[in-house]
Structures are given as structure tokens and as C-alpha cells.
Symmetry: C2
Subunit: 134 residues, 2 copies
Amino acid sequence: MPVQMQLSRIIISDINPQQIIYLKELDGDRQFPILIGECEAQSINMGVKRLSSPRPRTHELLVRAIEQMGGDLDSIVISELRDHVYFAQLRVKRDGELIEIDSRPSDAIAVAVACDPVLPIYVAEDVLEESTGS
Amino acid sequence: MPVQMQLSRIIISDINPQQIIYLKELDGDRQFPILIGECEAQSINMGVKRLSSPRPRTHELLVRAIEQMGGDLDSIVISELRDHVYFAQLRVKRDGELIEIDSRPSDAIAVAVACDPVLPIYVAEDVLEESTGS
């Protein structure tokens, strides 16, 4: 069963191109970091702070594109950890069908926080165990 | 009538957060610059150079999301210049319908060059006249 998580920290460095976000269990204490790029970190930071832009930011465009195509963003899930790389999916409902769109976790989380309300963020139990060593 | 353009130059600066791209008429000499952000400039640069990533970049994700929702990306158009801000649309066909998705030009061009083949890029004649002073 996937475990619902929340974004608990964003650490943005000016001197390092790799940024760090932490996901923490909603109903528990396990947490783990994911290294992400600068652009996605900026977008997540803007989304979390609900900073509005006069024109759609890239992940807002992604949300609107999916909505205009008749999709209903349901949640995001980090489903796999392979060779130190996390794999995620955007889960979209359309016409009673569930469509899963392959994504990096950083883009998926940026999409989650660009939605209002923020989309639920899930992590597969085995990924969580491997990431937290528990 | 919109005029078909091509991306003729990308100028990436390490010291300036504003980057510059130039669009040039396909069947003519008129050209004009657009100031864009670093993230979108990086994405356009990767797209133009056909640099592959092991995992989908943000604009590749956008293209795949639209395709998985049953959409067929047709072209992009820069349709308006208002208070020094360009407005663009992604034009997507689905079930015989044309869907226009409001976008910044930078994201639209990043989407265009993330497609294979690259999507046609159009600029409205009045926007081209105002931008080139011709």
C-alpha cells in the first residue's frame, strides 16, 4: 500500500546545483530526502508559498493543459527506486479511466503543489522502507 | 494571418537571469528577441540540441501528458503583445476539436522543440510588426 506523505522541507542552496526536498509520513515519523534540480525546486517553493505569477509558470501550465484536455488530477505517487533514481507518476482521471503519466518526482511534486488544493502525495511502502532504512 | 517563424538564436548568459531567444521569419528576414527565464532557456537549449535525458524533462513531461490525454500537438502561436508581455498558446487537436492552452512564449517554444518533429511556431502579423518596427 502506498503511504501518504507531505512535503516537510525544501532546502535551496545558492552554491550547489542540487537542491533537497524532504518528504515525511503524514501519519508517522519516517522521512527521507530527494535531490532535485534548481528549476523544479524554485517551482515547488513558489507553489508551496502560493506565490502568484502574472503568467502561468511551467507546472501551472502543465496542470492547466491536463485540465483543458478533460483530465482531473487525482494524486502523485513515487512508485519505485531503481539505481538510486526515484520514479513517479502523475495520476489523472478522465472519463472514468485512470491515466498514469511517468514523471520525475520533482516535477510530480511541483505539479502537486501547483494544484489547489494540493494533490495527495503517495510513496510505495517498499520505496519508503528502502529510503528510510526502516 | 500568423507568420511562421523559426528559433534562430539562443543567448544564454551566466551573469544575467534574463536569457534571450530570437525568432526569425521562415520566409523573410524579420526577426525579434524575447527575454525568457533561465529554466526555460535551458530546456529550449536541450530541446534544440536533441540532448536526451534518462528521465523526462519538464517540457517533455508536458508533451507526454498531452499525448497520453489523447491530444495531438499541432503548433504554437504567439498571438498578442500587451504591455511588453507576449502571450502564446499551445494548439492541440483532440477528437476533431482545437484546444488552445494559454502559455508564456518560453514554455510554448520549449514544448515546440521538445516535440519530434519540432512544432511549427507562428507569430501573429500585428505582433511581428510591433516587435520588429516594420
